[in-house]
């Protein structure tokens, strides 16, 4: 076969004839003089600009959050045979599915009731009834988990009443679990939606199931988009011999084996097991801010010990195992202790490349708390911490954590701020490393700060979500990603100097 050279966009548009085309096109663009563009670009890096930027109250620019229903359908997907069912306009579901598809590179099923103008006027009851009938017939779910979009919320659709009607009219079987959650996009963010849906599902599915204690513990991962984390929790608790229920287990849903067969429901928490969660000894959430209402509900209604134990970083992971050990009476096995030893060994070996390095961090509140904890353990200096969907309580928790360490003294926590605020901070007070999701690459480009991708969404790198960031293995992965990013950057900067070392 004759070889031919194929140039795609990566090369093509750097070629002379295209560069000339771009130059010529400017004639019609009415562009600003290059000098003016440079001047404004420089101005955006100044303290003066930062002040203006931080003075804005009415507009978000590159915020780090999505909306409630995304979290709700993500949560729902983690239950066996469950179809996420969204009452509202249909574009939203197309967007949610695309967003999750792009992150996981996996299929994602969800239903919309395709509400349009007539529903805006008359309400969404008819859409709900027909939607339930069609999706039950066509996709054969064991559970339909209903949530809303902005539209259904603004017009005031009553999910509870609608679902009851559907059952009364025998549109869907009376015994089909149809939990629901109100998830307006103008309240909270995707983590709120996760919480609302988790509470909705648990409320529905455990109704009337209170009975003998089953001796198990429940684990609620929270809005956690690392399938590696789910597998890691299962592996670790397996090693410990703990009997547990993972509530919303998306590991197989968003990381199913390729068998040549597409399965719409490839895994998830078995519904029977989920129903029995009400009889567990305790419930442990691995995230705090995506499980607030759920944990309150469990503590109050189920009368269980409800603990938040996020296992990110060494100390957090230690605490996670200590508490599990306390609750279950099972000792932490040597195998896990050895993993800890290896993780700490790696941290000690690598610490010189992280110690004293300044970090900018952005992401969801729980990820940020985990990252702060880990970075402090490595001797890194968190500097700018930007959390668009963090509240006052998050800020207090982050500040408390930072104040406990001499390495936390340089940090400022910003809630409600976005990546355009962070851009200003990174210019006026530069850092060595940035940690954030794929959208943070715009900050990498603008400021030249090396980026470590941790969080959600990660669209532009493959398979990162398959690796855990929790437990001691998670510590190893974070050490790996961060240290090797520092070393890559060092190589790049010293490429043509005497410091271009082969052994580090």
């Amino acid at each position: 076969m004759k070889r031919i050279k194929i140039k795609d966009h990566n090369e093509l548009f750097q070629e002379k004839e295209y560069l000339e085309q771009f130059e010529k096109k400017k004639e019609f663009e009415n562009p600003w003089p290059a000098e003016k563009v440079r001047e404004v670009a420089e101005w955006t890096k100044t303290e003066e600009y930062q002040e203006k930027n931080f003075a804005r109250k009415n507009i978000k620019i590159n915020p780090v959050k999505a909306c409630q229903p995304l979290g709700a359908i993500f949560c729902a997907s983690g239950f066996e045979g469950t179809m996420p069912f969204v009452q509202g306009a249909q574009g939203c579901v197309a967007y949610f599915r695309s967003h999750l598809n792009r992150h996981f590179k996996e299929p994602m099923a969800a239903i919309s009731t395709s509400m349009t103008e007539d529903a805006a006027v008359f309400g969404g009851l008819n859409n709900m009834l027909e939607g339930l009938r069609n999706s039950y017939a066509l996709y054969n779910p064991k559970m339909l988990a209903v949530c809303t979009t902005c539209m259904a919320e603004v017009i005031g659709d009553d999910l509870n009443a609608y679902i009851r009607q559907a059952k009364d009219k025998d549109i869907i079987p009376r015994d089909l679990p149809v939990p629901f959650a109100h998830t307006p996009s103008f309240v909270g963010s995707h983590i709120t939606g996760y919480d609302n849906m988790m509470k909705g599902i648990l409320t529905t599915i455990t109704e009337g199931k209170k009975g003998e204690p089953n001796g198990k513990i429940n684990i609620i991962p929270g809005f956690d988009t690392y399938t590696g984390n789910y597998r890691e929790v299962k592996r670790l608790l397996g090693i410990m011999g703990v009997d547990f229920t993972l509530l919303s287990d998306v590991s197989d849903v968003f990381d199913s084996p390729n068998t040549g067969e597409y399965k719409m429901y490839p895994g998830g928490t078995p519904l029977e097991e989920a129903a029995d969660s009400v009889n567990a000894t305790a419930t442990i959430a691995l995230q705090k801010y995506s499980t607030v209402k759920t944990m309150k509900y469990i503590e109050k209604e189920w009368g269980q010990e409800a603990l938040v134990l996020p296992p990110m970083g060494v100390k957090n992971t230690d605490r996670f195992f200590d508490e599990i050990s306390r609750i279950t009476g099972k000792p932490v096995p040597q195998e896990i202790e050895d993993e800890r030893g290896r993780a700490v060994d790696a941290m000690i070996d690598s610490h010189p490349y992280v110690h004293g390095k300044r970090f900018a961090l952005t992401g969801d509140p729980d990820i940020l708390l985990g990252l702060i904890s880990f970075i402090l353990e490595m001797g890194g200096l968190p500097a700018h911490i930007v959390c668009t969907n963090g509240d006052k309580r998050f800020a207090a928790a982050a500040n408390a954590l930072l104040s406990e360490s001499p390495f936390g003294q340089e940090a400022t926590v910003y809630t409600g701020k976005d990546m355009w605020h962070l851009r200003s901070l990174m210019f006026t007070d530069p850092v060595d490393i940035l940690i954030g999701n794929s959208y943070a690459k715009f900050l990498w480009r603008d400021t030249g700060t090396p980026l470590v991708r941790i969080g959600f969404p990660i669209f532009d790198r493959h398979h990162l979500h398959r690796y855990p960031v929790i437990g001691y293995q998670g510590v190893l992965n974070m050490v790996n990603w961060i240290v090797n990013t520092v070393l890559d950057e060092m190589d790049r900067k010293t490429m043509n100097t005497t410091s271009f070392d082969v052994i580090r």
């Binding site: 009415n30 955006t44 939203c92 967003h99 969800a110 066509l138 355009w420």
Partner: protein, 475 residues
Amino acid sequence: MSNAIKETQKIIDEVLEAYPEKTREDRAKHLAPNDPTGECSTCKVKSNVKSRPGVMTVRGCAYAGAKGVVWGPVKDQITVSHGPVGCGQYSWGARRNYYNGQTGIDTFGTMHITTDFQEKDIVYGGDKGLEAALLELKELFPLARGIGILSECPVGLIGDDIEAVSKNAEKDFGYPIVPVRCEGFRGVSQSLGHHIANDTIRDFVLGKGELKESTPYDVSLIGDYNIGGDAWASRKMLEEMGLRVIAQWTGDASVNELGIAHKSKLNLIHCYRSMNYICRHMEEKYGVPWTEFNFFGPTKIYQSIRKIASYFDDRIKENAEKLIEKYKPVMDAVIERYKPTLEDKKVMLYVGGLRPRHTIGAYEDLGMEVVAAGYEFGHDDDYKRTYPELKEGAVIMDDATLYEMEEFARRLRPDMVGSGIKEKYSYHKMGVPFRQMHSWDYSGPYHGFDGFPVFARDMDMTVNSPTWSLIRRKR
């Protein structure tokens, strides 16, 4: 009725069986065996009507059409997603409509700017906040050439008057502030969003740009969002023909270009579905003729170049022939290289816009056959343009559901499927080679002489990847 048509109808009937009665009756109108001659009365599909609730449509909404397709790719305008945070987040940088410029300084294409509605905005209205937001944007981005306000569902439902806010602000801003009423619940798909956005270009920008001098060879490239640089590859050919592209809508587009297209001698429309409205308007108001073209694959490129040249003098016509002469050997070499591994492979296409019909020729150039095609949000005129392009008995599917697509793939056994990100990974699990034909799967360009080699390479890597044969299929 021919056998091919009968056979296909049988397949369609089988697939429809799973639906409840009412939905089955409705969906039956949207699925048909193709008849290129137009003689078979039942071989046409109904389109542009509401999706059934609960059937997993692939469609998006009016906001998606206005943001992703029409206004989003206008680079020096700030596009504000007015309403809650989600819509802007999910459409952020997803379309790959390439542009030149310094993002955040003089261009704003890959930014996500939103008024981030909170509950209080729903209760008290968002107009005041929007007014203040515009002032903040003016202060932070002094080199913007315009602001587009794209309203999300709640804005329309609570009755905010974004037009009044725009009108008020425009006086002080000195550039267009464009209110776009593209709430997601409007209409049945993205399609209405295109139309609404076109109307706002007409009302707020068209005719207001500056063009120093006109030439007899001025054309505008309309409806090419420059995915993976498509419009640049197209532009290159047009310029080589001696035409002057004065406006490129709406990929790598600037507000000024939107404002001068009416001075064209001819409008060249690529994505008919999303921008025919504005071409019709320019024809009526300014007398600018327009013509559709198709730059996918050499056969259609040659035809299109000649068609475009036919509107101009002999010099352009000669240039068109020279251009074909110059690139034919390159195109032949691509075909010679890739046809042997792609010949007789069957393709199923389900995409938005125009790609199902426009890429058929390119597949055929490589010896491939399109056995099924359909649109997310096509209208009757899209299907009319599609029937003659397809073989008899090919499946036509309008607003197909995930279920239907899966079932057709099982029965038609395509060697590859071309569709969007939402469909991609279920086909991967089924072991069916798949290419994203909205975004070129992060590749491109696919248009023009520079695009066809990339297209051919990508189809080959899709169909002939050894990874498919690693799947241990369940027996």
